[in-house]
């Protein structure tokens, strides 16, 4: 019920997103473009090369970061976990900074280095955890330590190389003003593939929330399953971050919000995180374009301004209700 309402809302916000911008397109124009593309002029070009990639970017990045956060929070049994905690953001940030320092700043190379950076960082943390049989808390603490080291590298490079500092600023705040298909399509493919795989692992995720000992008793290879889920989650988040920049907040807030909508249902929490993550990001991006038009705010700033207070209200009103022993 709530999920289908969410889907309707998502379609609506996507349509608004496609129509909003420095030259507004009415719904009539949009439909005309879709029905008779040969008669459309400038509008079609705007739709095709500006609005559509941007909206797709919002939808996919929102879904990827939301789901990734939901997975991290379940696997690590910690509601404060998010893709950032196991190195996605710090790794991507370092990848970008390095890329800028070496002067390669074409769209695709830029995205690729962010993606590789995040995946390498995540693999380092999960491999270390696997080797040492670390507990969930140790994974989180280790993630914090690796994040600190990676960020220190990025900062050091930025100080020594001004170009890298200037060029990577946009990426660090996060936003969609420079999205293009060449960045978007490979990342979208990765996100879609990970989503499909994750949806087949929902029973495993649920068994995992019963605790390691119970999961083992039920016949699960606990460490392998955990790492598989973490890596799939990280791949999605890394792919999203590669074109959206470092949007950290969404992976933390959206799953916590959605969990209140679907208490006791891991599958719906994950699916809901995809839908509501998309809505949140698309909506924030519309605001980012509209509020100070013709200037544009980075979407990361809008998300924090809108999402932060809303989340606090939820926390105060919701009173918890669930206890995790």
């Amino acid at each position: 019920m709530v999920l289908s309402a969410g889907l309707v809302l998502l379609v609506a916000s996507a349509v608004v997103s496609i129509c909003t911008g420095s030259s507004d397109i009415t719904i009539c124009q949009l439909i005309r473009c879709l029905v008779r593309p040969e008669n459309a002029g400038v509008e079609l070009a705007v739709l095709k090369y500006v609005r559509l990639p941007r909206t797709l970017a919002c939808v996919f990045a929102g879904a990827a970061l939301g789901v990734s956060g939901a997975i991290m929070q379940s696997v690590l049994a910690n509601k404060l976990a998010s893709p950032g905690i196991i190195g996605v953001n710090a790794g991507a940030g370092l990848g970008i900074t390095l890329c800028c320092a070496f002067g390669a700043a074409s769209g695709f190379v830029y995205s690729l280095s962010a993606f590789i950076g995040s995946v390498v960082a995540v693999l380092m943390i999960t491999a270390a955890a696997y080797k040492t049989k670390a507990s969930r808390t140790t994974v989180i603490l280790g993630g914090v330590a690796v994040n600190a080291v990676l960020n220190a590298f990025s900062e050091a490079i930025s100080v020594l190389n001004n170009d890298a500092a200037l060029m990577s600023v946009d990426f660090r705040v996060g936003g969609f003003s420079s999205v293009s298909y060449i960045k978007l399509i490979p990342a979208m493919a990765i996100i879609a593939l990970c989503l499909i795989l994750l949806m087949t692992l929902m029973n495993d995720l649920e068994v995992l929330t019963m605790g390691d000992e119970t999961a083992r008793g039920l016949g699960m290879n606990v460490r392998r399953t955990k790492n598989l889920l973490l890596i799939l989650g990280a791949l999605m988040a890394g792919a999203a971050v590669s074109f959206s920049g470092l949007l950290g907040f969404i992976g933390l807030v959206v799953p916590n919000f959605v969990r209140r909508l679907f208490p006791g249902n891991a599958k719906l929490t994950v699916a809901g995180s995809a839908v509501f993550g998309s809505i949140f990001l698309t909506f924030s991006d519309i605001l980012a374009r509209v509020i100070f038009a013709p200037f544009e705010l980075p979407v990361g700033i809008i998300m924090a301004f809108v999402g932060g207070p809303v989340f606090i209200v939820l926390l105060v009103k919701g009173k918890g209700g669930h206890t995790y022993a």
């Binding site: 390691d212 000992e213 083992r216 008793g217 016949g219």
Partner: protein, 254 residues
């Protein structure tokens, strides 16, 4: 039939079990008793693969357990741990997860699994709460749900680490009946128990553990005749017959 021969096991380099040999027959309830920290839980955990085995043999029906994949192992041995989470799901969902080891990728529970889970819930008298979230249940009902999940696992060996925890006395007795039923079905039931009178009246045979080794083994009668319980717990244990019923009582050593 679960056999453990000359087992040395523990966590990392820390060896807790030393030269432990245990034979658990089918169709019987075997109790493991001993003071805190004597390695009772570690013994169960080493069977399920949660402890590190340094040397020794673990056999189910003559097959070495360490060669089993986790799912194969779970089809042979169900395990009810002592410390458990409060999962955020309904009773029915959780009991259904007892069937996890029978599923191949992509894991989808079928009609047969649902039916087996339903029967397990019936056995534990959980039908009324089957759609209730576990976080809303009492500790005792949650424990019953965990036991139902272990029953749904349909393994010939069931290991229970302090299954009577959180249960009121009526439910403890009900659980004893269920353990007897499971044994009557031909399963090997192994329980770590703290309640000595309960262990003595329930189990067909007992292992007394002390400091990582087996201090004594035998039927309750044989254990009572020896001095292991007195030595290990520093108590006196007596059997009292009143009419048809037998009671076990203990008091501090004088």
């Amino acid at each position: 039939m679960l056999e453990i021969n000359n087992l040395y096991a523990g966590y990392g380099k820390n060896v807790i079990l030393q030269d432990v040999s245990v034979a658990i027959p089918d169709g019987k309830i075997t109790g493991i008793i001993g003071p805190n920290g004597c390695g009772k839980s570690t013994l169960l955990k080493s069977v399920i693969g949660l402890a590190d085995i340094h040397s020794g043999e673990l056999l189910v029906d003559g097959k070495a357990i360490h060669s089993f994949a986790p799912a194969e192992r779970a089809r042979e041995i169900a395990y009810l741990p002592q410390s458990k989470n409060v999962p955020d799901m309904t009773v029915e969902q959780m009991v259904l997860h007892g069937r996890f080891a029978y599923l191949d990728y992509p894991r989808r529970y079928g009609k047969k699994d649902v039916e087996i889970a339903r029967r397990a819930m019936e056995k534990m008298e959980l039908e009324a709460v089957c759609h209730v979230n576990l976080s809303r249940l009492s500790g005792g009902q949650r424990q019953k749900a965990y036991i139902a999940m272990a029953i749904a696992q349909e393994a010939p060996v069931i290991l229970m680490d302090e299954p009577t925890t959180y249960l009121d006395i009526a439910h403890q007795l009900r659980l004893c009946d269920i353990m007897r039923e499971l044994a009557a079905m031909g399963k090997s039931v192994v329980a770590v128990l703290h309640d000595l009178p309960l262990a003595f009246s329930l189990c067909h045979s007992l292992y007394v553990m002390h400091k990582g080794s087996i201090a004594a083994r035998g039927t309750p009668e044989e254990i009572l005749a020896g001095d292991a319980v007195e030595r290990v717990f520093d108590i006196e244990m007596k059997k009292i017959n009143s009419g048809e019923k037998t009671h076990y009582v203990y008091s501090r050593s004088s």
